[in-house]
Amino acid sequence: MEPSRRKALQAAAAFGAVLAAGLLKPMAALAAAWNKEAFDSKKVDDALKSLGAVGAEASSEILIEAPQIAENGAVVPIEVNSNIRGTTSIAVLVDNNPFPLAAKFDFMAGALPFVRVNVKMGQTANVRVVATADGKHFTASKEIKVTIGGCGG
């Protein structure tokens, strides 16, 4: 190999390493920030498994505020408040939706474990909430009857 070519190759390799270290990292971090496996799960159990929340304990300390009957499944307001000390995350799942996991929120210092979000519901279903506190999982659910589904068209 000619020295100049070797030099160029070395430079290219070094540049590649810099790219890999500097640019790919934030992309990887971004990808990891959306739990594809959990969101793509078609069954509640699979979604819970992907969230690492199998065997969550039922808790009355998770308050779910939502209508009993939702006339329009396209916009169903769900309000979740966790009174469990040290709650760091809240996940919202709609049992009968094509992909049950609707949202997951991680709370850091400075935020209260509360969220209000509008979700789509294809049909009458249990809305299930999983709260995580100190590595333990707790769950609560509420049935919402849907008059007109909001998933297809």
Binding site: F39, K104, L112, F114
Partner: protein, 104 residues
């Protein structure tokens, strides 16, 4: 569809700061048929971040099951009038948007 405007309000209450934010986004599920009879591709917000004075306090991951033009409410511990709240989102097409408000 390009990202539309966002609206946000952050109000200091006795126990917490109430943050309400509205995002303009179609939140396509990938299951709806367009006027041409073809499925409209899935297009939805995936990540939502809430920051207070530059520090993240809530990281949200959402799916296409969140309603069109999403509205979120969050509660922040304490807070002081004038604190800067920033909410940003990124969707599955790599589009993003953010908005800022000060606690009133």
């Amino acid at each position: 569809m390009a990202a539309g405007p966002m609206k946000m309000r952050a109000r200091l209450g006795p126990d917490y700061t109430d943050v309400r934010v509205l995002m303009s986004h179609p939140m396509e599920t990938g299951q709806r048929k367009g006027s041409d009879g073809k499925l409209v591709p899935r297009h939805f917000i995936q990540n939502v971040t809430v920051k207070v004075n530059g520090a993240p306090v809530i990281e949200g991951q959402v799916s296409q099951a969140v309603s069109r033009n999403p509205v979120f409410s969050f509660r922040l511990k304490g807070g002081t009038k004038g604190d800067k709240i920033e909410v940003s989102w990124v969707d599955n097409a790599g589009e993003s948007n953010k908005t800022e408000a000060v606690i009133a």
